[in-house]
Amino acid sequence: MMLSRFAENSFWMGRYIERADNIARLLSVTEAFAADQESEAAWTPVLNVFSDHESYKSYNKPLTALNVAKFYLGEIQNFNSAAYSVHMAKENARTLRHLISTECWRQLSMFQARMHALSKRNFALSKVSEICDDIQHSCFTHRGIVETTWYRDEVWRFNRIGAALERADQMTRLLDMKYFEYDRDDDDQVAPPDVAWWNTLLRTASGYHAFQRRYSFDPQPADAAGFLLFDARLPLSVRAAVNSAFHHLSKLEQDYGAQADANIKSAAEALDNRLNTPPDRVNGRPLHRYLDQIQIELITLANALNERYFSPEQ
C-alpha cells in the first residue's frame, strides 16, 4: 500500500545514484583515453553524449579537459553532474526516510556532503580519476546497503526499476561516445579498430576480464559493443539492466496488485524486441542510430511508468 509519491521518489533515487556512478565511469574512461592521447579534444565526446554544448557555453569557462571534468563532477548547476545527481538522490531519499534504512540515509548523507565539499574545491586534472573512483565506490557502497538492508517491498522494487532503466540508458551513452561522430547521413564508415579505447571502455564497465573469458579468440570491437549491449550475464549490460527492470515490474503486479497498464506493456515489448534485433552492423552509423532508438524506447517506458504509477488519475 505505497503512496504514488513514494514510488516516484524511490524510482528517482535509484536513477540518480546510477547516474552519478555512470558519470564517474564516463569521465574516467575519457580521462584514461585523454591521458593516452594527450588531447583535450578528447573531452568533447562527453559534451556530445549529454547534448550539453549549450549548457556548457552558459557555464562560461574555456573548453579544457579540467573544466569539463569539473563541470561534470562538482558543478551543482549542471543537471548532468555527479554532484547534482547525488544531491537529487538525497532529496528524493529525504521524503522516503521513514521507509528506507537508517544505514542507507547515513551513507547517502555523507556521500552528498563529500560531493558538496567537492563542488567547493579546486582540484587538478591528475585528481580526476581518484575522484571518479571515490564516487564509484560510494555508489558501490550505496548499492550494497540497499541490497543488504532494505525491506523487499514496493519501495525497493521501484528503486531497482529506476536504477535499471538509468543503467541501461547510461550504458548506451557510454557506447555512443565512440559513435556519436557517425551521425551524419553521408557518412557510413566503419569505425576504425581501436583496441586501446575498447579495452578502457570494457574496464570502465567492469567487463574487461569477463570479456576476455567470453571472447578468448581474436576479439573484435563489434564483439565488445555486442557484449556491453546484449550479454545478460554482464551486470552493467543494457540487456541485464532491462531484464532487471522487467523482473521487478512483474513482481509489482504479482505481489502488490499494481498491474502495469497497456502503455507500459507495449513500451516494454518494443524495448525487448529492439534488444532481440541487433543492427546489421554493431559499429559506425547503424550502431549510433540503434543506441538512439534504445534511448527513445527507455524514455517511452519511463513516461508510461510515470503516468501509471506516479501521477495516476484517480
Binding site: 500500500m1 505505497m2 503512496l3 504514488s4 509519491r5 513514494f6 514510488a7 532529496e91 529525504r94 521524503t95 526516510r97 521513514h98 521507509l99 537508517t102 540515509w105 547515513r106 548523507s109 555523507m110 514496493e154 509489482l252 502488490y256 496488485g257 499494481a258 504509477y309 495516476p312 484517480q314
Partner: protein
C-alpha cells in the same frame, strides 16, 4: 583548570542543581554526594569534548537534524547535544507523572466542555470571551463527538524548577508539541557514546513511545473501525520538524503523507493515493496547524491541507489528532485558570503548581505588572517559540519603556510572571563544565487514559545566564534519566 575534577569550576549559584540539589551544601565536594556525579567526575574534560564531538557528528550523519533552507541551498543543522545527562529521582518522577496526567485529564475535560455544553463558562469559572474570542477556538468543532472525549491526544507540559526544587508548570502544549524524537534519539546516542557511563544505571526506558503512540491513535480512531489505517500528515520536507515526522512515522510503521497525497470523496471518506489505487485512511496524526488543515473551512490559500477533511471528521469517518480547536486550551491566557479548571472538573487540587501569573487584561493585575516590570517576565499570548518575551531583570531601560506602552495599548495580549530562577544542570561548555539553565517537557499520550513518557525533553540554554531554552534561540538538549 584542574583536570583532576571535572566539577572544580562548577558553581550552581543560588539555583537548584539537577545533579547536586540545593546550593546550601557549600563546602562539600559536590562530586562526593551523587553516584552519577562520581561517575562523571572520572572523565577528563578532553575525553568528554572528544566524545561529544563524535556524538554531534553522528547526529549529523544520521540526519537527526532540522533543515534550514536559504538561497545557498538546504543546510541540515543539529540541535546542540549536551553529553551530561539530567536525572530525575523516582520520587520526583512519581509526582510529575501524577501531575501531568491530572493536568491533561483536566485539559481534555475542559475542551470537551467548551465544545459542547460550555458549563465552565456558564458557571463563570473562566471568562467566556477568553475562550469564545480566542483565535484558536474553532466553532466548527461544537457538537462534534470524539472517541473517549480526547482532544489533546499528544500533549507537552513545560516544567521549570524553582530555587527550592519545586516543579512548576510554565506552559501547556496541546497542538503539536515537538521534541519527543530527541528524547529517544538522545538516549540512543548516550548508549552509543557513553556506554561506560550508562552501564548498570537503572533508568526507565523511553524506546516504546512509537508503540504507545500507535496504540493510542488506534484507540481514538472512529469507533467502528477495528484495524484503522493510520497516517502521519506532515507539511513536508521544508518543515523544521521534518525529522521528527520521519522518526514518528518510522517508529509507528505508518505512511508519512502530505496533503496532496490525500483526498476526501463525496461520501466524506478520506483516501490516500497509492500505486494500487485509493486506500482508505481512518486516523490522521497531523503536524499541520488548524488553519492550514482544510481550505474548505479554514485558510482557503492553504496548499498543505486536505479539502473536505473537516467534513470527514464531522461525519465520524476519520479521526484527527490532536483535535481541531485543541489549541485554545494551551493559550497563555487560559493557563492562568488551570488550577481552577482542574478543581472544577476533577475536584482535586493541582498536583503541579502554575507559576504565579498576572493576567494583564485584568485591571489590578495590569497595575501590578506596570509597577513591577523590572521584576517580571512579560509574555505575549498566542505566541510560541520564545518570541516576544521580555525578561524584566535583564531588559534595558528602553525595552522596558517599550513594553510598558505596549501593555497599556493592548493589555489583553499579555500575561506576566515573576522571574523564576530556572534550575541548572552541569553542562559542557567551551570553558569546561558549567551551570546552565534547563527546563523539562514531559510528553503525555491520551487515549482512554493518559500515559506519560518517563522523563521528557530537557532543553538547556547553552548561553551563560540565559533562561530561554528554545531551539530557535540557541537552546540544546540533554538526555533525561528517570531513575528506578
Amino acid at each position: 583548570m584542574d583536570t583532576q575534577n571535572l566539577f572544580s569550576g562548577y558553581d550552581a549559584g543560588e539555583n537548584y542543581c539537577e545533579i547536586f540539589g540545593t546550593s546550601n551544601s557549600a563546602g562539600i565536594s559536590p562530586a562526593g554526594e551523587d553516584p552519577l556525579a562520581i561517575r562523571l567526575a572520572k572523565y577528563k574534560l578532553k575525553t568528554l569534548n572528544q566524545r561529544n564531538k563524535n556524538a554531534e557528528r553522528e547526529l549529523h550523519n544520521l540526519g537527526i537534524t532540522f533543515t534550514v533552507y536559504s538561497d545557498a541551498g538546504a543546510i541540515d543543522r543539529i540541535l546542540p547535544f549536551d553529553p551530561l545527562p539530567r536525572k530525575i529521582s523516582s520520587e520526583d518522577w512519581g509526582r510529575l507523572d501524577d501531575g501531568c496526567r491530572q493536568r491533561v485529564k483536566a485539559l481534555n475535560a475542559f475542551l470537551t466542555d467548551i465544545y459542547s455544553e460550555q458549563r465552565i463558562l456558564k458557571d463563570g469559572i473562566v471568562p467566556s470571551d477568553l475562550v469564545l474570542g480566542n483565535d484558536n477556538f474553532r466553532k466548527e468543532m461544537i457538537g462534534v463527538d470524539l472517541p473517549h472525549n480526547t482532544y489533546t491526544h499528544i500533549s507537552g507540559v513545560d516544567l521549570v524548577r524553582d530555587e527550592s526544587g519545586e516543579f512548576l508548570v510554565l506552559e501547556d502544549n496541546c497542538r503539536a508539541p515537538s521534541g519527543v524524537s530527541y528524547v529517544i534519539e538522545n538516549r540512543h546516542l548516550m548508549m552509543r557514546s557513553f556506554p561506560d557511563l550508562m552501564e548498570g544505571v537503572q533508568t526507565l526506558p523511553v524506546s516504546d513511545y512509537g508503540n504507545r503512540l500507535r496504540s493510542m491513535l488506534t484507540e481514538t480512531s472512529p469507533a467502528h473501525i477495528e484495524n484503522p489505517n493510520i497516517v502521519l500528515l506532515t507539511p513536508g520536507v521544508f518543515n523544521s520538524a521534518y525529522f521528527e515526522h520521519v522518526f514518528l512515522a518510522r517508529e509507528m510503521g505508518v505512511p508519512l503523507v502530505e496533503g496532496r497525497d490525500l483526498i476526501v470523496d463525496d461520501e466524506d471518506q478520506v483516501f490516500m493515493k497509492t500505486i494500487s489505487g485509493l486506500k482508505r485512511v481512518d486516523m490522521i496524526y497531523r503536524r499541520i496547524d488548524d488553519s492550514f488543515l482544510d481550505p474548505e473551512v479554514f485558510r482557503e490559500d492553504s496548499m498543505l491541507g486536505v479539502p473536505g477533511i473537516m467534513r470527514a471528521l464531522k461525519a465520524g469517518k476519520v479521526g484527527i489528532a490532536n483535535a481541531v480547536g485543541a489549541g485554545v486550551a494551551d493559550d497563555k491566557a487560559i493557563y492562568a485558570y488551570m488550577p481552577r479548571i482542574i478543581k472544577y472538573y476533577l475536584d482535586e487540587e493541582a498536583i503541579l503548581k502554575n507559576v504565579k501569573t498576572f493576567i494583564c487584561r485584568e485591571e489590578d493585575d495590569l497595575a501590578y505588572v506596570l509597577e513591577h516590570l523590572e521584576e517580571l517576565v512579560v509574555k505575549p499570548v498566542g505566541e510560541s517559540g520564545g518570541y516576544g518575551i521580555v525578561v524584566g531583570p535583564k531588559a534595558t531601560k528602553s525595552e522596558l519603556t517599550e513594553i510598558a506602552s505596549e501593555l497599556k495599548k493592548k493589555p489583553e495580549k499579555y500575561i506576566a510572571q515573576p522571574m523564576i530562577n530556572l534550575s541548572v544542570c552541569p553542562t559542557l561548555t567551551e570553558k569546561g563544565v558549567r551551570a546552565r539553565h534547563v527546563d523539562l517537557r514531559p510528553f503525555v499520550l491520551t487515549g482512554k487514559e493518559p500515559w506519560v513518557l518517563p522523563g521528557g525533553l530537557t532543553r538547556v540554554a547553552m548561553r551563560e545566564g540565559s533562561i530561554i531554552v528554545n531551539s530557535s534561540q540557541g537552546g540544546g538538549s540533554k538526555d533525561t534519566w528517570v531513575m528506578r
